[in-house]
Subunit: 195 residues, 2 copies
């Protein structure tokens, strides 16, 4: 049984390779398929950090628009970035880069911003959600243990809040926890309910 | 490999039947066994709501003390309560009671308090962590869908934040997310590190 009756006419596509994001969309209780397209994830250099995630979600959605979406299709795209000291942390290049990022976030607050775009043939909606996350002071042993055992190279900011480092290091979240994992499920549910 | 070298001399016991709490302790990365004892979970009527969870965690720990804990054993106990409008919500009696609780929390903030006690032959430590959780307005259809499909009768406050109702209904957490699930992992890790 699916709660959102208004979505029954759509074949829903989630355009994301992230298994975390796939689990989060499953958590809302809707049926969907996965279909991703290669998108250049660059953004204008002078863009405000708060505009980047929604901008990239629109870019990912446009890859579908160009191929003429059939009537009964809905595409959901998302992009998550980590912002610390007004700078964006992307995915780390290697273990040293991951170490640098975790040292940077140790003992302070950072922001996690997810931009989401919902696209059908008729219309599109884009929104973003920001959560604040605070790490307690992480020592070198903890940072090395995490990087060696969890290899967070596929994660913006070099960490997964649902992994060991989140259990032992995050002392505070302000906002949506699922947004920190990669998808603001509650806001997305509300947007889909009224789409 | 286990990070907390100082715990290697202990056989750790988690005194909790909750599979969520067991998963959360696993998430910290320590080895433990499960052993529970029956404890009367009543508390003094006029006790401040903030004292109840730590009081009950001490009561659960005392069930072990009486049986003379061996030198190399460490017991961890915990109790989680939900407080809304200065009243404690326990586990719901039935579906109607669960409906009452979810209606009460709909569209507002409540507190989730977990009390934890760590006990060895030499010493014991007790602490508690409070998180605030905000539910968006839940409609009757959503409340009924959740209760029928998830049967949250084993959960204080009649909900699991990691279940459907948490995905679609919780718009805000302030504090530790894992504490809302039943164990404040980060604070517990810090307490164990310095035990």
């Amino acid at each position: 049984m699916m709660m959102l009756e208004n979505l029954k006419k759509f074949n829903i596509i989630l355009a994301s390779k992230s298994p975390r994001r796939q689990d989060l969309l499953k958590g809302i209780g809707i049926d969907f398929q996965i279909l991703t397209k290669d998108v250049d994830e660059s953004y204008p250099e002078r863009m405000s950090v708060f505009e980047v995630a929604p901008y990239l979600s629109v870019k990912k959605a446009k890859a579908f628009e160009e191929n003429e979406l059939p009537d009964n299709y809905m595409v959901i795209t998302a992009d998550t970035i980590v912002v610390v000291d007004d700078k964006i942390l992307g995915k780390p290049k290697d273990a040293d880069d991951a170490r640098r990022m975790l040292r940077l976030m140790s003992g302070k607050k950072h922001s996690v911003i997810t931009g989401v775009t919902i696209l059908t043939k008729e219309k599109s909606k884009t929104f973003s959600v920001t959560s604040k996350v605070s790490f307690d002071v992480l020592d070198e042993e903890e940072i090395n243990y995490y990087i060696n055992n969890y290899k967070p190279m596929d994660k913006a900011g070099a960490y997964g809040v649902q992994e060991w480092i989140g259990y032992i290091g995050v002392n505070y979240v302000e906002g949506s926890y699922f947004n920190v994992m990669g998808l603001p499920t509650q806001k997305l549910y509300q947007m889909l309910k009224c789409f």
